[in-house]
């Protein structure tokens, strides 16, 4: 499962389409920087940096799915949207992708725009639209919050995978003919399974944070007064 969740490498999508998506990603990231500053003002750099490090670290933690043989890891897009909001969340995931392409050779450099569009923009946008909707519709209980996190994480992973299918349809280097629907189906099926794991972990993680520091959960802002007293947190001041 882990190996399937990888970034698009060079040569899968043709050059012009990759360039168009690179321009799109650049424009969207500019918006994210501007809106992120509104959320965090000059705290943006250190806070977003730490959140990006958090996402990166989380992606390095493997958890067992069936015994030790098969393991997966969190993608973290929906988790970031839930905890720090769509703008900073997308920005952090994008920075993680840039560093992974430049330093780790994961995902082609020429395909960076495509990867950022799928995982940082589409995934986070889908997650946040669902979060904004579900937080208002569902009861404001722990169960409601858990369902919100689960559904948005699940959908965001599947939407990101369909972004790849769209790009392949626009500029795939091999004509699949009628098999494009098959590609869409396979990608959706595989990512549905990944998304279930992603959703379960995202939900549990958000519940943990909401219990200790509800004021830090972006999705809950403006919905309830931050009445819970700040409980001293594990780790303490260092």
């Amino acid at each position: 499962m882990e190996t399937l969740a990888m970034h698009i490498s060079n040569g899968i999508i043709d050059g012009p389409v990759a360039a168009v998506f690179a321009a799109l990603a650049l424009a969207a990231l500019t918006v994210c920087v501007l809106r992120g500053r509104r959320d965090l003002d000059d705290r943006l750099a250190p806070m977003a940096g730490l959140v990006a490090a958090f996402i990166f670290a989380v992606q390095m933690l493997n958890f067992p799915i069936f015994t030790a043989g098969v393991s997966g890891h969190l993608l973290g897009g929906a988790l970031a949207a839930m905890l720090v909001g769509p703008w900073v969340g997308a920005l952090c995931v994008a920075v993680v992708l840039v560093v992974q392409a430049l330093i780790f050779g994961d995902g082609g450099v020429a395909m960076l725009g495509l990867n950022i569009t799928n995982m940082a923009l589409l995934g986070t946008a889908a997650a946040y639209l669902l979060i904004a909707l579900l937080v208002r519709v569902l009861p404001r209980t722990r169960a409601g919050l858990a369902v919100t996190a689960f559904v948005s994480a699940l959908v965001s992973v599947v939407v990101a995978s369909q972004g790849f299918v769209l790009q392949y349809w626009l500029g795939g280097t091999t004509d699949l003919g009628g098999n494009l629907a098959g590609l869409a189906g396979t990608m959706a099926g595989v990512h549905l399974l990944i998304g279930i794991g992603e959703g379960l972990i995202t939900a549990t993680t958000v519940l943990t944070v909401a219990k200790v520091r509800p004021d830090l959960v972006y999705a809950l802002r403006g919905l309830r007064p931050t009445s819970a007293p700040a409980v001293p947190v594990v780790g303490g001041v260092r």
């Binding site: 040569g11 940096g49 959140v51 490090a53 920005l91």
Partner: protein, 256 residues
């Protein structure tokens, strides 16, 4: 994602490639990659020439083929995708070893394999010869928006700290008898991630306060830029690789 991120890919050495300024290497790598991607896939000889170019730079940088090839395994999932293409592709069929395969699919598989591998090798060479700090300095000198380089700096600075914390929490959990084997036993793992987020976020707040108390006003001090931007000579030396790659690509486009 996944494999390989835990390793530090930088190979400490003192080769001509290591000594080049980072911004020069980044531009060379990106231009090389774009040239490779722009090459028509039928020009088989061009990819051989690119491979020779990569091998020459690797030899110059004193990076062994074993190291490069084992790290390049990160590409494996897309190799599997490439293998599936000849069976899925549309259009004319050809007989290969008794199998009816799509000709277009075979070309597509070759395309992904060749371009993907060359891209990964180029990234690995950059990573092997440039420290992460230099890489950020290079991006900054290339006028990458400062907010992005700042975020990337904080991320790389604290990544090891957070990974270390996560490892300690895992050891603590396991030494207290937690042994998650299946997806539905993930509570402990996920609660740990929640705690990790709180620690990360609060560390960010402390870092910000520490920066404020040292006079941070939203821009980084001049020291940040590092010293000695690339000279014209260094640009010329490093330009050899992308220029050769670009001319190979241009020749391939003209010939096909």
């Amino acid at each position: 994602m996944g494999a390989g991120h835990g390793h530090v890919l930088y190979r400490d050495s003192d080769s001509p490639v290591h000594r080049l300024p980072p911004e020069v290497k980044i531009v060379a790598m990106v231009v090389f990659t774009v040239a490779v991607v722009a090459t028509p896939r039928e020009a088989f000889w061009a990819f051989g020439a690119y491979a020779l170019l990569v091998a020459a730079v690797a030899a110059l940088a004193r990076v062994g083929p074993r190291w490069l090839l084992s790290r390049a395994l990160i590409e494996l999932p897309f190799v599997l995708f490439a293998v599936a293409l000849p069976f899925l592709g549309a259009g004319e069929r050809v007989d290969v070893l008794g199998l009816r395969l799509s000709e277009d699919g075979l070309h597509g598989a070759w395309n992904i394999l060749a371009k993907g591998t060359l891209g990964v090798l180029a990234s690995l060479l950059l990573a092997a010869t440039t420290t992460t700090r230099d890489l950020i300095v290079g991006l900054d000198r290339l006028h990458c928006p400062q907010v992005l380089t700042q975020i990337a700096t904080f991320m790389l600075r604290y990544l090891d700290v957070l990974v270390g914390e996560a490892r300690r929490m895992r050891v603590a959990r396991i030494s207290r008898g937690d042994d998650p084997r299946f997806l539905w036993q993930l509570r402990g793992f996920a609660a740990g991630i929640g705690a990790l987020f709180l620690r990360a976020f609060e560390r960010g707040e402390r870092v910000y306060l520490a920066m404020l108390s040292r006079g941070y006003t939203g821009r980084m001090p001049a020291v940040w830029q590092g010293d000695g931007a690339a000279t014209a000579g260094q640009w010329l030396v490093a330009a050899t690789v992308p220029v050769v790659a670009a001319s190979i690509a241009a020749t391939a486009v003209v010939l096909t």
